[in-house]
């Protein structure tokens, strides 16, 4: 029993990381129908900046968090201004390529500022891991799960209960109609990038004490987070979170019960199966997918 539980906890730990990245994808997607492949870099920037403010500059814990999130948000803003807004005709391929190019540049800058070493800082609460029926779970993992849940709730409230959120969703479905309705589409796009960057930063800040952070963690996080978002249904916040946990647990169970070398393949195969048979994902809806621009 404790062995199974341990595998489960491991899966939750890994899954929480993917879940948070997937959430970030959905914000920009909800506002623009763009998939931002530089999302992974926001996570890395958040983690590294947190180290910079709290360990290198030795600023107080909460101040460091605020600064790290704010700075990352600014980078999101810059990205949108410099590379997204200038493009008039936003076709799918171009957007994919531009976000990939931005991720390359961001990685290069991170490499210069932080070098190639991994960085770490203390978890939010110090203390022994928690023992449940013989299986151990780190306290920081509980923090990550808790923060993820909080973020889902906040995102749900934002996109469904506030005017701003609903306006953003309208822009993704039909920007022209949104404009006619009086929504400032450009501003919505910009806000979505800032929010997504900040969400990425929160993910990075929360997971670094568990997994460490280095300059080139971005692409792998982006791919797995993207898979989580697709699995759960693009555009559905809680879907991507569930997707993230499913991928994490699947990887862990495969490593535990089948073969640890093949676990990456398993998650990918499951994702492909979902794509082929239910592309809208677990929570998505086919009609809504067809209505989207991409």
């Amino acid at each position: 029993m404790s062995v199974f539980l341990q595998f489960l906890f491991s899966g939750l730990t890994i899954g929480a990381v993917y879940a948070m990245v997937g959430l970030g994808f959905n914000i920009i997607y909800n506002a623009t129908s763009i998939i931002n492949l530089a999302q992974g870099e926001f996570v890395v920037i958040g983690g590294l900046l947190m180290w910079f403010f709290s360990e290198s500059l030795r600023l107080p814990f909460l101040l460091s968090i605020v600064l790290a999130i704010t700075f990352t948000g600014l980078i999101g803003l810059l990205m949108e201004r410099l590379t997204i807004r200038p493009i008039k005709k936003k076709d799918l391929l171009l957007m994919i390529m531009i976000t990939i190019a931005v991720s390359i540049v961001l990685r290069g800058i991170l490499m210069f500022k932080f070098g190639k070493d991994p960085y770490n800082y203390s978890p939010f609460t110090e203390g022994d891991p928690i023992n449940i029926y013989g299986a151990y779970i780190q306290q920081q993992t509980l923090w990550v799960i808790g923060i993820t849940t909080l973020c889902i709730i906040l995102m749900y409230l934002f996109f469904n209960k506030t005017m701003l959120g609903k306006a953003m969703k309208a822009c993704a479905v039909d920007p022209t109609a949104a404009r006619i309705a009086g929504i400032n589409v450009e501003r919505m796009v910009m806000i979505s990038f800032v929010m997504s960057a900040m969400m990425g930063a929160v993910a990075g800040i929360a997971v670094t004490p568990i997994t460490l952070m280095e300059y080139d963690r971005g692409p792998m996080l982006a791919v797995k987070g993207f898979c989580a978002a697709i699995m759960g249904g693009l555009g559905r916040g809680r879907g991507s979170v569930i997707g993230g946990f499913i991928i994490g647990i699947l990887e862990s169970m495969t490593a535990g019960y089948i073969h640890s070398g093949a676990k990456d393949a398993v998650a990918l195969i499951i994702m492909l199966v979902i794509l082929f048979f239910r592309p809208a994902g677990i929570f998505g809806s086919k009609t809504i997918i067809d209505l989207r621009r991409f």
């Binding site: 994919i96 190019a101 931005v102 592309p279 991409f294």
Partner: protein, 311 residues
């Protein structure tokens, strides 16, 4: 003078023939050879994306299959290299069918992710079960034909570019044939072309198979040139690289794929001066060309030339 594909082809062939006599160092010839190998991958992707309109982030998977199958058959089972290359193409084609059938209904991001997933699965398989695992293997036989072994820089250069030009001629004909026109109409609107009697599903599968075969050919030639391969050359990064070649050069134009491939191959060499800053410059050049030449270099150049001519 009107710019036709035939004229461009003649000029290109001339350049290919003269090039090694002007730049005759082994170093430049290697760069040119790698550029040729990349051209093959890029051309395949261009047909799939530019003409058939299907996004693919998994080109490296087919590239890897071609390389590994050809290398293993020729090294471990003594197959003549030409045959092992062909079988590599066949295996790659089968994989493409396997991917294309379920992927038929997918579009946009979903198709992109499916192809990405496919490429990654191939990478994991090669890493886990390929000979030598992550470390790869070597001693792969060089390419030979009727007893002649291509082991000088010059001979391999001509071999590769002969293959490139031949496939280019084939592709150009294909694009202008019924098949090509059907592809393009499918790109513009699947519903409309279906209504006109085009068998859209079978066409999509054929497009995937075609791009896979081109990539597999590139992979095989790569393996028999470097004679040492490992899974790290066939990862997502490689898929993205090929994607860049096509997008920067001009996705709707086969010559664009060639120009893009040459440029992306040359770029790291040209950036050697910048030492470690090269990755930054690389990314910036990419962003700038995507922002300002977003149709791709070749279409823009062609447009300018046509306009100038008309005036």
């Amino acid at each position: 003078m009107r710019i036709t594909n035939k004229r461009i082809f003649l000029v290109a062939s001339l350049i290919v023939l003269i090039f090694p006599f002007i730049f005759d160092s082994a170093y430049t010839l290697s760069i040119a050879t790698f550029a040729g190998i990349n051209c093959l991958s890029a051309m395949g992707l261009c047909i799939l994306m530019g003409y058939a309109g299907q996004v693919s982030l998994g080109q490296a998977g087919f590239y890897g299959i071609g390389a590994y199958v050809s290398a293993i058959l020729s090294l471990n089972y003594g197959f003549p290299v030409v045959f092992s290359t062909l079988i590599g193409c066949v295996v790659s084609a089968l994989a493409a069918v396997l991917l294309a059938i379920p992927a038929l209904r997918l579009k946009g991001h979903y198709l992109a992710v499916a192809t990405l997933g496919f490429g990654e699965i191939i990478h994991v398989v090669l890493n886990e079960w390929g000979p030598g695992g992550p470390s790869g293997f070597g001693d792969i036989p060089k390419f030979y034909l009727f007893g002649y072994v291509f082991n000088t820089p010059l001979s391999y250069y001509f071999l590769i570019w002969a293959v490139v030009m031949t496939l280019m001629a084939f592709s150009l004909n294909l694009i202008n044939s019924r098949f090509g026109r059907a592809l393009r109409s499918m790109h513009d609107s699947e519903t409309a072309s279906s209504a006109m009697g085009v068998d859209v599903p079978s066409l999509k599968i054929k497009a995937f198979v075609l791009s896979a075969v081109y990539a597999a050919t590139a992979g095989a030639f790569y393996a028999h040139y470097v004679t040492y391969i490992s899974p790290s050359s066939f990862s997502l990064f490689q898929s993205v690289l090929v994607l860049m070649m096509v997008v920067v050069g001009g996705i709707t134009n086969l010559w664009g794929a060639v120009v893009g491939a040459i440029m992306i191959t040359l770029l790291p060499e040209a950036l050697r001066e910048f030492k470690e800053y090269d990755i930054l410059v690389y990314g910036l050049i990419l962003i700038l060309s995507l922002l300002f030449f977003n149709k791709g270099l070749v279409p823009i150049i062609l447009e300018r030339l046509q306009k100038g001519h008309r005036a």
